[in-house]
């Protein structure tokens, strides 16, 4: 079976600063994969390399077998990204944002219309569809980011801190929705600082620290002996810090 994501020796530098230091890992189709690490560890840089926002310095990345540089069109059709920051034309309406993105992915008008109506309903955004993005509350903006990632119905979703700053109700709604999507077969890569969220949703977890993979295993392996993911996470990152010193 072709992996959903294959990262081989990925390196990314900004000038002399090393952001990602030769990491490798594989995500199988249908996995719910937690990608953890402290701020500045290299999570978002790795995501940017997968999605084409950043240039890869060394190594390679394949999405469903398609190289993200050589076969970028196919690779990008397979990925939907909900970024950490609201990278959107704040003067556009919600419907236009979704419609333009659908168009960029080559979806025909009728197909876009149907898909957008479905997503607006799914994310409870129908009554806000004509509003400019800047007029929305933080929670609504976060929902638009998620809906945008799913317009072209990709098999692989990358969600970079999708629940940051949202209220408890929305967080629970999103968890249910993500679990449902995963059950339907979507592969999901999730980054989050809420470790109980990762513990609850993900079946495999990688911890990146200072640009290197410090640990990668099934979530259950991190929860041995009644420990919580948070304890293991702190142990691993602390150990890495000590080893680094």
């Amino acid at each position: 079976m072709v992996p959903a994501l294959e990262i081989e020796n990925l390196g990314k530098t900004y000038g002399s600063a090393v952001a990602v230091n030769g990491i490798s890992f594989v995500i199988k189709p249908g996995e719910f994969f937690g990608f953890l690490g402290p701020n500045g560890a290299g999570k978002t840089t790795t995501i940017h390399c997968i999605t084409g926002i950043a240039r890869i310095t060394s190594g390679s990345i394949r999405v469903y077998g398609h190289d993200v540089v050589k076969d970028y069109r196919e690779a990008r059709r397979h990925v939907g990204l909900a970024p950490q920051e609201f990278n959107v034309d704040i003067f556009s309406s919600v419907r236009d944002i979704l419609d333009y993105v659908g168009g960029f992915y080559g979806m025909r008008k009728a197909e876009r219309k149907e898909r957008i109506e479905h997503l607006l309903e799914q994310f409870d955004l129908t009554e806000h569809a004509k509003k400019e993005f800047r007029m929305l509350s933080g929670g609504l903006k976060r929902r638009v980011m998620l809906a945008r990632a799913m317009v072209h119905n990709p098999p692989f979703l990358i969600l970079d801190e999708p629940t940051a700053g949202v209220d408890v109700e929305l967080r629970h709604m999103l968890w249910d929705y993500l679990r449902e999507l995963n059950k339907e077969g979507k592969t999901i890569l999730l980054t989050s600082h809420y470790l109980e969220e990762v513990e609850l949703l993900c079946n495999r977890v990688a911890i990146i620290h200072k640009g290197s993979i410090a640990a990668i295993d099934d979530t259950s392996a991190f929860l041995k002996d009644g420990k919580r993911l948070e304890h293991m996470y702190l142990e691993i990152t602390k150990k890495t810090i000590t080893a680094g010193i």
Partner: protein, 253 residues
């Protein structure tokens, strides 16, 4: 080729400039109306014919060309810079679009804005009986090629600029002075002898003179030199932009 993606790009650019139509369309139309009325009609009625044509007919092509230049330049420069500033360029980067499709999408947006602005000015000129076409084919060539050229220049500035102030630098220090000194309001024969020689190195002289020839049949520069200047600039700038987009200059981190 991602045809729907490219068309969406153009649709988004059209949406962007029609969303702020007062700034992008109404303002140049009012400004052109004032130029044509005050300089063409009022002042022009007291100026002798230039090259055998009334002053209003002489000045209109210059006003039209300056607005084509400004429309195309402002569209691509501000659009690209704003996308970088608000980071929604990432929406395009993560999509299955090629570099050249991104460049073409922006250029079509710039050219369409220039055409809409230009058509409005032409309608205003008709009201003053100043609109004419001596060579329609050449008119279309000059209007479109200069619009493409300044869409490319706009993209270059939109990529390079790190602040809103830098976006306006080219207009203040290059476009406005070179347009005014390139024969927009006057025949170059009216200039001091030294400036008459210097003007031959001003590309704007060829743009304005070329469209003037296409509209009223009067020209002071060599038409073939003008065409060469435009085509050469298009090739150089097109190549440079393709390279900059390919390496992700200021757009991919």
């Amino acid at each position: 080729m991602n045809i729907i993606g490219l068309w969406t790009f153009v649709r988004r650019e059209l949406g962007r400039f029609s969303r702020v139509a007062v700034q992008t369309l109404i303002t140049p139309w009012i400004s052109a109306l004032l130029y044509i009325f005050v300089f063409g009609r009022i002042v022009g009625s007291r100026i002798d014919n230039i090259g055998g044509v009334e002053y209003i007919d002489f000045v209109l092509p210059g006003i039209l060309m300056m607005n084509i230049i400004m429309g195309a330049f402002m569209q691509t420069a501000f659009s690209l810079y704003f996308q970088r500033f608000a980071r929604h360029i990432e929406e395009v980067l993560v999509a299955p679009l090629a570099y050249w499709e991104m460049i073409i999408g922006h250029i079509v947006g710039g050219v369409l804005r220039a055409i809409v602005v230009g058509m409005g000015i032409y309608v205003i000129a008709v009201l003053f009986s100043a609109a004419s076409f001596a060579h329609v084919g050449l008119f279309i060539f000059y209007a479109l090629s200069v619009a493409v050229l300044f869409s490319l220049i706009g993209l270059l500035i939109g990529l390079w600029a790190q602040s809103f102030e830098q976006l306006t630098i080219l207009n203040t220090f290059i476009i406005m002075p070179l347009s005014f000194l390139g024969g927009m309001f006057n025949s170059v024969s009216m200039l001091p002898a030294l400036l008459q020689k210097v003007v031959l190195f001003n590309p704007f002289f060829y743009f304005i003179d070329g469209i003037r020839y296409a509209m009223i049949g009067v020209h002071e520069a060599s038409v073939s030199t003008g065409i060469l200047v435009i085509m050469g600039s298009l090739l150089v700038l097109g190549g440079l932009l393709w390279h900059l987009f390919r390496v992700g200059y200021h757009i991919r981190v």
